[in-house]
């Protein structure tokens, strides 16, 4: 059975097609989910893609959090559904309180797009189990509001519980606290990542194939998980 991975389209989503492509290349079947439809159509995992949901003029992810599909996703995520939020998806997960902290304007105040080295800090999540601990990967980063902030206690807790999933190496592109590029929830099924693994899945169009690991991890996780 091929896993079915939902990819949500909000009005203003941009990387939804790319996320669906990555899911396909990883060997799963992408299922397009619509923001206004609460049904999850029996998917085994969900990707919240990058872009500007609802324009994000107010605060990234603030409005998307109230989309009908999000209510279902929040419930399902609490029940263990693997959810990956990429860039805007990460912002939405924070706004929806599935992940702690917030993403704020890049410290240098510019949108920045570059190929970024990350270190995978934990392989104990549904989206990183295909990596080696400490593995360095090369993935595009592109955001204007990617600076991760949380209070010191939250940051300490994330570190202590091994919930920092990836860190920026070789230069922090947005000023994120403690160079955080990705975090996970306590259960390890929900991951938010600022860089774009879906843009590193094909030799022709990406700086590497390192992004595939995130998607194959989910498949591995699903096979291992009790049905």
């Amino acid at each position: 059975m091929t896993a079915r991975v939902g990819v949500v389209t909000f009005p203003g989503s941009l990387d939804d097609g790319d996320a669906a492509r990555a899911v396909r290349i990883a060997g799963a079947e992408p299922v397009r989910l619509w923001h206004g439809d609460p049904a999850l159509h029996g998917v085994d995992a969900v990707v919240l893609p990058g872009g500007f949901s609802y324009g994000d003029y107010l605060r990234c992810g603030a409005i998307a959090r109230f989309a009908p599909v999000m209510e279902s996703i929040v419930d399902a995520a609490r029940g263990g559904l693997p959810v990956l939020g990429i860039c805007n998806g990460f912002q939405i997960l924070c706004e929806a309180h599935l992940l702690p902290g917030a993403l704020t304007r890049n410290q240098h105040l510019h949108f920045r797009n570059r190929d970024q080295v990350l270190r995978i800090e934990t392989v104990g999540t549904a989206w990183t189990n295909a990596f080696q601990p400490g593995q360095e990967v090369l993935i595009p980063v592109k955001n204007g509001e990617g600076c991760y902030v949380a209070d010191a206690a939250t940051l300490d807790q994330l570190e202590a519980e091994g919930r920092v999933v990836a860190r920026y190496l070789g230069g922090n592109p947005n000023g994120s606290q403690r160079d955080i590029a990705a975090i996970t929830n306590e259960a390890g099924n929900v991951v938010g990542i600022m860089p774009h693994p879906e843009h590193a899945v094909e030799e022709l169009t990406g700086p590497s194939l390192d992004g595939l690991g995130f998607f194959t991890s989910a498949l591995k996780h699903l096979v291992g998980a009790p049905a």
């Binding site: 609802y54 324009g55 003029y57 107010l58 409005i63 109230f66 989309a67």
Partner: protein, 87 residues
């Protein structure tokens, strides 16, 4: 110490996509009695000495507001209206 607050808003006839996006989202929160939302910037300036309204006005004009599309007002506020206090 009182601060100077500069409120910068888009001129009324200029399209405000931010405010519009928020207004459009409200019905989903069950709010239906809002006629319009406009979003601007609020800037709090703290001076080292006495707050200086004229100086603040000059800063607003040169740096904080874009006179082509925005208007601003400058005023003194006591500490209790400023941020950090939550109503």
């Amino acid at each position: 110490m009182p601060r100077v607050v500069v409120d910068v808003m888009l001129k009324p006839e200029i399209l405000d996509p931010q405010g519009q996006a928020v207004a459009n989202a409200l019905p989903r929160l069950g709010v239906s009695d809002v006629a319009s939302v406009r979003i601007g910037r609020r800037i709090e300036i703290e001076f080292t000495g006495e707050p200086d309204l004229d100086r603040a006005r000059e800063i607003a004009d040169k740096l904080l507001a874009n006179p082509v599309i925005e208007d601003f007002t400058v005023r003194l506020v006591e500490a209790d209206e400023t941020a950090g206090t939550r109503s």
